[in-house]
């Protein structure tokens, strides 16, 4: 509880934008999340102005390069980025391809926690899958079409596409 309080103070003190705050909340050290709603919200920011888009990606970049102790930041950021590549604006795909080396180098992420468990396994799997998706243009296009058609349907994406 107090941790999320500290985070909301940090958000104000560092002057983060609304988009960045939602990324920080979605990729925090809390054991749960990010929820689909969180990711939908982040995806909607990527359709707005270029500034909003860049702020989101800048925050994700920082989270992806976080240290081992904050492995949840990295794992959750990969989840969010995977969502953005499918549901976010086309710019997210371009960003991810330009910065592929950041994701590729996470395929060997290792972090041992206090109980000597390797928490990096989840990150290695996520990074491997995301790299495979980004390197397969045909599959990526198909996934994005599926994502687009699921919007507006009951049970699908609630948020409408940018016209």
């Amino acid at each position: 509880m107090s941790k999320s309080l500290v985070r909301s103070i940090k958000n104000v003190a560092n002057g983060y934008s609304n988009g960045q705050i939602s990324v920080r909340n979605a990729t925090s050290n809390d054991p749960s999340g990010p929820t689909t709603y969180d990711m939908e919200e982040i995806a909607s920011y990527t359709y707005q102005s270029q500034t909003d888009f860049l702020e989101i990606m800048d925050m994700l970049d920082r989270r992806l390069n976080d240290k081992g102790k904050n492995w949840r930041h990295v794992a959750k950021s990969l989840t969010v980025l995977d969502y953005l590549v499918r549901y976010g604006s086309e710019k997210c795909v371009l960003w991810a391809k330009d910065n592929l080396y950041i994701i590729k180098t996470l395929r060997e992420f290792i972090h041992f926690d206090e109980a000597n468990n390797d928490q990096g396994a989840i990150i290695r799997v996520k990074a491997k899958e995301l790299v495979a998706l980004l390197q397969n243009d045909e599959r990526l296009r198909h996934e994005r079409e599926l994502a687009a058609s699921s919007r507006g349907r009951p049970g699908g994406e609630r948020r409408s596409r940018r016209n």
Partner: protein, 272 residues
Amino acid sequence: MSRAEVDLQTSVKKACNTDEVPPKRKHVRACIVYTWDHKNSRAFWNAVKIQPLQSDQVQLFKALIMIHKVLQEGHPNTLKDAYRNREFISSLGHVFPPQGNAYGRLINQYDKYILQKLDFHRNNPGFNGMFEYEEYISLRAVNDPNEGYESILQLMDLQDSIDNLQKLIFATIHQTPKNLCKVSALVPLIAESYGIYKFCTSMLRAMYQQLGADDALSILFERFDSQHFMLRDFYTDCHAIKFLTSLITIPRLSNNPPNLQVGDDGATLPPR
């Protein structure tokens, strides 16, 4: 010196400290990410050169693993920068007597391999550090079969050197808790050998399509088959090491070498 360069120096120093453990991935990753962020690796080489690598065998061995990783995963310019530092890299192989203990031998052979890799990339600039398959290279090489033949011979030489190196590593691993440092050198070798293997498979298929049954090709085909068995055994040995299986995906090769006299999609070609 910029802030980024100071951070890079710290990463290099921590990646190759004297602890007999694998070089920490986060520090190696920081070096790799630096080369992409700055599109060159000059600061990386400068940082390596100021490390006291001559004083400790473990430190030098870890430095070679780190260099190999950065060559594989770093920005393509890293390979060119590395060639400019060929003399320096070559000097590292003679610091410790190769006929001395295990690390001396390992360092000497590993260093030779890295030099061979650098020379290959110098002659074949179309390849990235991991030998990841790029279709256009095989197409270009097929247009000029002589050039393709030459590249594939050099790749097979590299594959043989990888095999010798992995055998030496396995021979020096004993049942001690400290052997993970040596084992971690297998990680880049697995990735690299598989990249070469996949490239040779599609390249030889493309050449067969172009040339058909040919004496010069059948020699390559025989050598490819024997390398297939070498690699299969290498990967089987690696599957027995838990550190490796949990860290990376080790490919499994079938018991029989793949049929090279087919198109790249696996369809049998009409006889010529």
